[in-house]
């Protein structure tokens, strides 16, 4: 799998959404040309200088962003952190030789544990326990240094569970990201999207999307995996998220590179939705802006470099 930054120098590699105290939100987009910010749900974007010389390849926001205003961005050899929602930045180097940060994830209990995870393409996983001030490689048990996706359990403070997708398969941690266990599964392709159910303690639901081999789920905490949404068996999965449903069941949402959206509640049938893409448009990144409610607005980044706001029903 080639790094997306070489395929197109200015595509959106990752999104992050920072909720504000007044109910509004700020969106961030990590792109080859830098970090961008939108205050109107993606209708317009402005560049946010970070001081980094290279591409911004990852971005993540503290779950308490409305309060602590903490934001992280990844680049070659460093993680950048801001405590004023991107107005000023501090780089923290990750050592030599410099790895390329592929993905960032912040602990849901960040206010208490200060934990942030940074995946890289060459050096596995880095872990910070002091809100990003220092980083250390956390690769015990991780046999694949190419980290492509990270998901942290919504109940991380209690279950210490995280999931990472790599080029060769899936790994799970039950030690807060300090060590990893190889999950046995039908990984015929790189795992590029992962999600953990907010009801994980009860439903054991994990979802993993692959590049070209579709979607897989486990309902026993990662012990056994099966392919789901069979019509997506050869799809490139771009994003998968699991939200709390109004009926107390986990709602899974999946976005594919060719614009297909699938969602389902619990173990009900999959509901299909399609994004009306023009020919040759390919989705490379996506994020759900608002998981509550029936209509779920999405930001999608296209291979052409454009960003669109769409609605999934």
């Amino acid at each position: 799998m080639s790094s997306p930054v070489t395929a197109n120098p200015d595509i959106t590699l990752a999104f992050a959404v920072a909720p504000l105290a007044d109910g509004e939100r700020i969106c961030f987009a990590a792109r080859g040309s830098g970090l961008y910010r939108s205050d109107d749900d993606g209708a317009s974007w402005t560049a946010t200088p970070t001081g980094a010389a290279g591409d911004i390849t990852a971005v993540a926001v503290s779950p308490a962003g409305a309060v602590d205003q903490t934001l992280f961005a990844g680049t070659t050899g460093a993680v950048l952190w801001s405590t004023d929602l991107g107005q000023t930045w501090q780089p923290v180097l990750l050592g030599s030789p410099p790895p390329l940060v592929s993905v960032l994830a912040v602990s849901p209990a960040f206010h208490d544990d200060g934990i942030v995870l940074a995946g890289t393409f060459e050096d596995g996983l880095y872990r910070s326990t002091d809100r990003g001030a220092t980083w250390r490689r956390a690769n015990v048990g991780l046999l694949d240094p190419s980290v492509l996706a990270i998901a942290i359990s919504p109940e991380f403070a209690a279950d210490q569970t995280a999931l990472i997708g790599t080029a060769s398969g899936l790994y799970q941690s039950a030690t807060g990201g300090r060590s990893w266990r190889d999950l046995d599964g039908p990984w015929a392709a790189p795992v590029v999207a992962v999600a953990i159910s907010p009801y994980f303690a009860d439903d054991g639901l994990l979802v993993a999307g692959t590049e070209g081999a579709g979607l897989f789920e486990s309902r026993d905490g990662g012990g056994h995996w099966r392919q789901v949404a069979e019509d997506l068996a050869e799809a490139d999965i771009v994003r998968t998220e699991i939200a709390r449903g109004s009926d107390g069941r986990a709602e899974v949402l999946v976005v594919t590179a060719d614009g297909a959206i699938r969602s389902r509640s619990g173990e009900a049938a999959w509901i299909a939705d399609e994004i009306n893409l023009v020919p040759d448009e390919v989705i490379v990144s996506a994020i759900v802006l608002d998981q509550a409610g029936q209509d779920r607005p999405l930001l999608i980044g296209l291979a052409s470099g454009a960003i669109r706001r769409v609605v999934a029903h």
């Binding site: 030789p97 060459e122 048990g141 991780l142 030690t175």
Partner: protein, 540 residues
């Protein structure tokens, strides 16, 4: 007592009586060491030094050399051999094994003296052991938290600080985790994870290290030539250096069985600020020779191909694809390590899974330990623990305790835990009692009665060693229920699992198996043959 210089043959009933006296002597030594309040055994010194005070069953057994009476000595050494095997394989459970053995052997001798057939009795003791094993497995639970691991460690080592460190370490490293122990600089303990994979592979020329400011050489973007070749001629290294220069890498590691001084000098001469070439010894060279295993691991980890002297490989035919890669490598006086290896992740994953399967299927403890080390090495599951103490002997003792506790924690993660304080064994009486009710043959009834009585011995020893009345406490335990036992620290009858009083399941199971099989075998010994001890030469 006959002289040791006289050959002798001993028949029953002297055989059984002599063996029993010998095994009872060993068990009497070890019984006081069971429980959280162990008593010490003083071992006198022959060199005029102060006696050695030991409360660890394995170390006490190791000090046993010989009993004066030859018949007793046979019994003592027979039991010693069983206990030493338990100590080596499980790291703990020696005293428990001994008291179980003695109770079974004493009961068995009584049954045989009453007219029972020793071979039939042996058969039914084995059948009873199967019942116990099944019941113990029912009581086994997996350990799923750092807190539980710390509790288990405390049970094993009774050193709270050591238990805390080891519990935390193994919560991260997992069931195959390995610990390197070093002497600490202070009285306390410190620990840290060791990143990546490393082997015992010293530098061929420590002069390279002398030039380094730190104690080790750090390399980046390393190409690694993996071999067990003997490289005597510096010109043999030219293809490697050429490939490294063409690839534009920062460093080259030449792994070889032998690297002549001139070849080393050649590597040094070709090193500079932008490129470093060093030579390290092939890891795993014997005895025992395990470098083939090291090669498989290095190939899977770094993506290189090992050049084997037995296959007639020559460095002259090396190609770039044959060289392993790592983003970082390091070398010190004794070790060579890598992190950020460049091998194929799928291949490495498959290789580690094969090793894990091999570990699961392997019975030999030494082979299992070797596989664990390889899995830990490839998974980066190693930590360093610096052990401090007031004196060097105190540090050595604490390191030994750390080693055993680490083995116990590994066993815990692999096999789970059971209720401690002898409770798990007490619970095994019920299914044996059910079998006893259905048994008809005299030897079968005797076997179950012997085992039921023997299963109480560890709990009795804990109770007695804690200064409590055995009969009263056992009665209170029976009234409280199957999960209850004595908390020897507080004197209260508690739910032992809930109170964190846990035993490593593998240790208990090994203790039972060794005790039953050993005692059953000892009951079938009818004759002792004493060989004549040769005279010792004055000037050998």
């Amino acid at each position: 007592m006959t002289s040791r210089r006289t050959a002798a043959v001993v028949f029953q009933p002297d055989t059984g009586a002599g063996l029993q006296r010998g095994t009872r002597a060993v068990t009497a030594l070890l019984r006081p060491t069971i429980g959280p309040h162990p008593r010490a055994v003083a071992i006198s010194s022959t060199s005029g030094r102060a006696p050695e005070l030991l409360d660890d069953g394995g170390l006490i057994v190791r000090r046993l050399i010989q009993l004066a009476d030859r018949d007793e000595d046979v019994g003592a050494m027979f039991l010693r051999g069983l206990l030493w095997r338990v100590y080596q394989q499980a790291g703990d459970g020696v005293a428990t094994t001994s008291v179980l053995f003695q109770a079974i052997y004493d009961g068995g001798l009584h049954a045989v003296a009453a007219g029972g057939n020793a071979m039939r009795l042996r058969h039914f003791l084995h059948a009873g052991e199967c019942v116990i094993r099944e019941e113990l497995m029912e009581q086994t639970v997996a350990v799923d938290s750092e807190a539980r691991l710390i509790q288990v460690a405390r049970t094993v080592c009774a050193d709270p600080a050591l238990a805390q460190h080891l519990g935390q370490i193994f919560a991260v490293l997992g069931e195959h985790g390995q610990i390197e122990l070093r002497n600490g600089q202070s009285r306390g303990l410190t620990s840290d994870l060791i990143e990546g994979s490393y082997w015992d592979a010293p530098l061929h020329a420590t002069t390279a290290l002398a030039a380094a400011e730190a104690r080790r050489i750090e390399l980046e973007h390393a190409l690694i030539f993996i071999s067990d070749l003997e490289l005597d001629d510096p010109h043999e290294l030219v293809p490697l250096l050429t490939l490294a220069r063409q690839a534009g890498v920062g460093s080259l590691v030449v792994m070889a069985r032998k690297l002549a001084g001139s070849a080393n000098a050649f590597l040094n001469a070709n090193s500079g600020p932008a490129f470093r070439a060093i030579g390290v010894r092939t890891p795993g060279l014997g005895p025992p020779d395990r470098h083939a295993d090291s090669f498989h691991d290095l190939e899977a980890l770094t993506g290189g191909r090992a050049f084997r002297s037995q296959a007639g490989d020559s460095v002259a035919r090396v190609e770039l694809a044959d060289l392993g890669r790592a983003r970082r490598a390091w070398v010190d006086r004794q070790h060579f390590g890598v992190s950020g290896p460049g091998g194929d992740a799928h291949r490495l994953r498959t290789h580690v899974r094969q090793l894990r399967r091999g570990h699961r299927d392997e019975d030999d403890p030494a082979a299992r330990a070797e596989l664990s080390q390889r899995i830990a090495r490839l998974s980066g599951a190693t930590a360093m623990l610096w052990v401090g103490g007031a004196t060097t002997p105190a540090i050595d003792q604490r390191k030994d305790l750390a080693r055993r506790t680490a083995a116990a924690l590994r066993g815990t993660l692999q096999g789970g835990v059971q209720p401690g304080a002898g409770v798990a064994l007490l619970a095994c009486r019920a299914p044996l009692t059910a079998r006893l009710a259905l048994a008809v043959e005299p030897e079968e009834r005797a076997a179950y009665r012997i085992l039921i009585r023997a299963l109480e011995e560890p709990a009795r020893a804990i109770i007695t060693n804690s200064g409590h009345d055995c009969g009263r406490i056992l009665a209170a335990i029976d009234r409280a229920g199957a999960a209850y036992g004595l908390n020897a620290e507080t004197g209260a009858i508690v739910d032992v699992a809930a109170a964190g009083l846990l035993d490593v399941a593998a240790v208990v199971q090994m203790a039972v198996r060794t005790a039953v099989e050993g005692a059953a075998q000892a009951l079938t010994i009818d004759t002792l043959v004493h060989a004549r001890q040769p005279r010792e030469a004055i000037n050998p």
